[in-house]
Symmetry: C2
Amino acid sequence: MGGPRFEPVRTVRAYERVVEQVEEAIESGALSPGQRLPSERELMVQFSVSRSTVREALRVLQARGLVRSRPGDPNGAEVLPFSPAALHKSMTTLARVDELSLAELVQFRMVLDAAAILLAARLRTEEQLAEMGAAVEGMRAAVDAGEETFGAADVAFHDAVVRASGNKLIEICTDVVRSIVLKLIAERIAGAPDRRALMRESIRHHEEVIAAIRAGDGPLAARLSRKAMYDYYAGYVSEGERSALRALLE
Amino acid sequence: MGGPRFEPVRTVRAYERVVEQVEEAIESGALSPGQRLPSERELMVQFSVSRSTVREALRVLQARGLVRSRPGDPNGAEVLPFSPAALHKSMTTLARVDELSLAELVQFRMVLDAAAILLAARLRTEEQLAEMGAAVEGMRAAVDAGEETFGAADVAFHDAVVRASGNKLIEICTDVVRSIVLKLIAERIAGAPDRRALMRESIRHHEEVIAAIRAGDGPLAARLSRKAMYDYYAGYVSEGERSALRALLE
DNA sequence: CTAGTGCACTGGTCGGACCAGTAGGCTACG
DNA sequence: CGTAGCCTACTGGTCCGACCAGTGCACTAG
């Protein structure tokens, strides 16, 4: 006892070392978005590994959304600006594997949206307020234009809100979760009866939210938004799950 | 016009097809965690592709956290139970690339934690309440045991809360964001002066939160928790960012 | 019955080869 | 002289065959 404490040697694969180095270069800013990596054949020289190893590393980096390669491109792989695509992918997997229920996703949206609105009520500029108003105007014009157009206008509104919140993480997560929710209920919406009444009510809710944001009453705006989202999605979840959603309505 | 509308042909790589098929099998439940994929040599026969292609596909699946392979294993790659590791990775990248500031992360934690507490106040069982109490007891015992032990007890408390909230997405995101925040401020904490006073105050805050949860007063518990987190982290962010955090304190 | 040894697999890595693309320079035509 | 079109030198995508260091299991020798 008291001797040297040996640590288990973890064998690290060659392609992982390559991934680490490139990742480090990107995250440290030595490689910025738009720049090109050397060609695969050049990389295999620099790293002293075979092309297979280089390619496996590139596949990993690509799966993480850091680079993109295109056949025939005289330059090497392109370093991408960050995109929440990877985040989106893993969260989608989560939902697909049935680890997540629709109710949990909607609940999460209620939380994020309410938070964004609370922040937006404090931090919004006049321009952002105008954007929100324009989006609601778009919703009004889209009532008869079909589900898809209406949905796009609705997304525009919530986008304006989260941007006004000033929190990019909320923005990204909202975006990811929203698209998953929309995908999950897309077929149910398609088969639903005339939803124009629901749309008009949704517009009214949005207007109330804007008014509260304009007035700077964040808590009220957040409460209204939670209620609006609950009303909009309650029909898609079971009664047991609905009660969990209602827990957010205080 | 009016003729057939052709879509741009997107060339799909062989390894992507392999990824898709395996992914589909996992997400549909045809392959469940713990099961093994065929060996790479067997896969190249089944998919009619070369081993390089199979391996690139496996690298992608591995990067997404769906499978793991080990050299020498007589069986093929192992299908993994879902883990937020991939989610964690992409969110960490986000933070590293400096897309996210510490303040945004803390703000996000405030939002998630408050939401979890709001839900927990409604849905918690007596056992979960006891867990929270035990965790705070652990914090009290750890005041003199150093930052690390205290932090672990603190994590245990918040874990108990998010579990009681019944929302796995909140649970996962809390876990991911918390570890990133802790990592970001680890060095600053290490260099800080005696933090025992801060710890004792934190304990008092936690006790108040538990009391509010026990009383079923979700809004109060959430408000207390936001305040507690603000007090705990305010010292690590600039004044401008602090004001954004305060926007959540209503 | 057990301890030890092979063997038949596994994944990790390497090297070379070919193909289909792309971009940019070069040539030949107007 | 300008431009349309070809040519070439690359790129990434895929395939093949080979070798190595591990691992688990059956078989064997004690």
